[in-house]
């Protein structure tokens, strides 16, 4: 493990600007957002909790062109790969799902895989928890353990640094003069801090009576349960915010556009809550009712992905809880499902 002072960290980012577009969180009105940095890093925020936008936006953007006319090219929209700083562990878990969808199949998605290879992830420990954080319930610790290139644990005056990949090691080797070996005290501070945040998230889970993932097996079924879904969906306005804000939701819509001389195929994030999501041209719709579509969202996360990829497709980031204008709370839905199953047994 290494130590990087705050000044040397800024020097590192300035150097990385040559090969990357550098994005890092800033805080506005109690929310954290990714901002593209260049030169001036005075308002950079590395610790705290996950930013507003999910990490997937840097790997499969909300809207991008995937084909132009009949040309076979794969052209990414950005001039340089992204270096994303301050990524939190909950977002890194999102890779497990996104990678499964876009990389590990007969067809690799060249847009996603291109960015996955080129982008640099400089993650960081959470240094606080907010009310909606419940990562521990989904088996995620509030500090990165895998799927990062470089991880920063904020300590007095700088960071304890961990290298997580060969790409991270390469960046380190190129800038080794900025780093020094971490001393025992810094490492101690890091461990204490990690324990403190785990306690905070743990309290969230206890206070809100949130089920742990071990209790989720078999609770979200494709059929059977209707009462909970009909009740939970009452306030849903079918906006799809829960989908777009989610680090694991991956569904997209392909649509074609044509202006005078150019034909383009675009892909945009799609939402399974929207009525026509599964409808076919002939008119048949396997999920005509809104409660069926809300259930489908949960089935996909807590039934489909565990069965096909051995993973719950929720990271406990809590974004959907805050994004939902209908106040549908994923923690509450899961708790109701678990309770009902217990009564049945």
């Amino acid at each position: 493990m290494y130590y990087l002072s705050r000044e040397d960290f800024i020097s590192l980012l300035r150097s990385l600007e040559k090969s990357y577009n550098v994005y890092a969180p800033v805080k506005k009105n109690n929310q954290r957002f990714y901002k593209k940095f260049a030169g001036d890093y005075s308002d950079i925020l590395v610790g705290e909790v996950r930013p507003f936008e999910p990490l997937k936006a840097f790997f499969s953007p909300g809207r991008e062109s995937v084909a132009e006319g009949f040309k076979p090219d794969v052209r990414l929209g950005e001039d340089k790969p992204s270096c994303v700083v301050g990524v939190k562990a909950c977002d890194l878990k999102g890779f497990k799902v996104q990678d499964y969808v876009f990389l590990n199949h007969d067809y690799e998605d060249p847009f996603y895989s291109g960015r996955r290879k080129a982008n640099l992830i400089i993650s960081s420990d959470c240094t606080c928890a907010i009310d909606t954080c419940f990562c521990l319930a989904l088996g995620v610790k509030p500090y990165p353990q895998e799927d990062f290139d470089i991880n920063l644990s904020p300590v007095e005056g700088g960071f304890v640094v961990e290298l997580g990949s060969s790409k991270g090691r390469e960046v380190f080797n190129q800038h080794s003069h900025l780093f020094r070996k971490a001393d025992e005290d810094s490492i101690c501070v890091r461990e204490e801090q990690r324990k403190r945040i785990i306690k905070e998230v743990d309290e969230n889970i206890k206070d809100n009576n949130i089920p742990l993932q071990d209790e989720l097996e078999g609770v979200v079924e494709e059929e059977g349960e209707t009462d909970i879904w009909e009740d939970e969906v009452k306030t849903c306005v079918e906006c799809g915010a829960c989908n777009t804000i989610c680090p694991t939701c991956h569904c997209f819509l392909l649509y074609d556009e044509k202006d005078e001389d150019k034909m383009q195929r675009l892909r945009i994030w799609d939402s399974c809550l929207v009525k026509d999501f599964a409808r076919v041209a002939g008119g048949a719709n396997p999920r005509p009712k809104l409660w069926m579509r809300l259930r489908n969202r949960f089935v996909k996360k807590f039934n489909f992905f565990p069965r096909v990829a051995d993973i719950y497709a929720c990271t406990g980031c809590g974004r959907c809880i805050l994004a939902c204008p209908a106040k549908i709370d994923i923690r509450e839905v899961l708790r109701r499902l678990v309770d009902k199953k217990r009564i049945k047994e």
Binding site: F70, P72, V101, H105, H250, L253, M263, A278
Partner: protein
């Protein structure tokens, strides 16, 4: 790396009106793509969009293919306007086809309803190309009226073949119709084969597939020997966009042909 989303340019060679709402389009892609019977393609109308179709043509013809398309939506509306020389796009082949190899030496019953004749035509030609490899071949088809019977002349030709036992029915006859009247499930009992070991292939509107499957199970066909074509909203065609999920499968990637055994426990398969 290949771009799985880009369509390959193709030129329309012929557009044939089959019925007032159904046309067959023959086209030649710039690059030979070919297909295994039962696989599908995404057909692009430049600037309008794309839609999935299972080719209705002979799989052994590699350089050209045909799709038979019912006019039901935005893309199919445009497909019906296509003329010889028009440029379209095509992606594929996608999905898994019929496992023809495993049908060897078996008795096979093919059940078609209405527009479902389209993929089955491709399958029948594959069977004809491999005639002799299967023990016995039956075709039972039904549609609403004689006027809506697809490929009528070709099918009359099939009826003369020694290697095929064929029968048709219509829901509502006209004055010239001399065949059966009623739904397709009514003419399945005349199929003389060992059901317990036989293969059944069904393609048609969901409601027809539902009742045909029920009937086939009653007759004694095994779940794993009934092949169904699932009509789902297949868009990307490569298991990523999420629209065509059936339980733990995606129709585009794992289908669109499934055995009844694969999907029977999932809800809404006929919806």
């Amino acid at each position: 790396m290949k771009n799985p989303y880009r369509p390959i340019r193709a030129e329309v060679k012929e557009a044939v009106t089959e019925t007032p709402t159904i046309k067959t389009i023959r086209f030649r892609p710039d690059e030979e793509i070919g297909f295994k019977t039962g696989q599908f393609i995404e057909l692009t109308i430049p600037g309008v969009g794309e839609a999935p179709f299972t080719p209705s043509s002979r799989p052994s013809v590699r350089e050209e293919m045909e799709v038979t398309v019912m006019r039901v939506g935005k893309v199919t509306e445009e497909i019906h306007k296509l003329q010889k020389g028009d440029i379209i796009g095509v992606r594929g082949p996608l999905g898994k086809g019929y496992p023809i190899e495993s049908f060897k030496d078996k008795e096979i019953l093919v059940v078609g309803g209405g527009c479902g004749f389209a993929p089955l035509r491709s399958l029948m030609y594959e069977f004809f190309d491999k005639s002799g490899q299967f023990r016995k071949l039956f075709f039972r088809g039904g549609c609403k009226t004689p006027g809506e019977l697809l490929y009528r002349e070709e099918i009359e030709g099939w009826a003369k073949r020694d290697d095929l036992d064929l029968d048709l029915t219509v829901d509502k006859a006209d004055s010239q119709w001399k065949g059966n009247i009623g739904v397709v499930t009514n003419i399945l009992d005349s199929v003389d084969m060992n059901y317990a070991d036989g293969i059944a292939v069904v393609c048609g509107p969901p409601i027809a597939m539902k009742f045909a499957t029920k009937k086939l199970l009653e007759m004694g066909f095994k779940d794993e020997n009934i092949y169904l074509s699932m009509e789902k909203n297949m868009s990307c065609g490569i298991g990523k966009c999420g629209h065509c999920r059936i339980g733990t499968y995606y129709a585009c990637q794992d289908g669109p042909v499934f055995t009844y055994a694969q999907i029977k426990d999932f809800p809404g398969i006929w919806d």
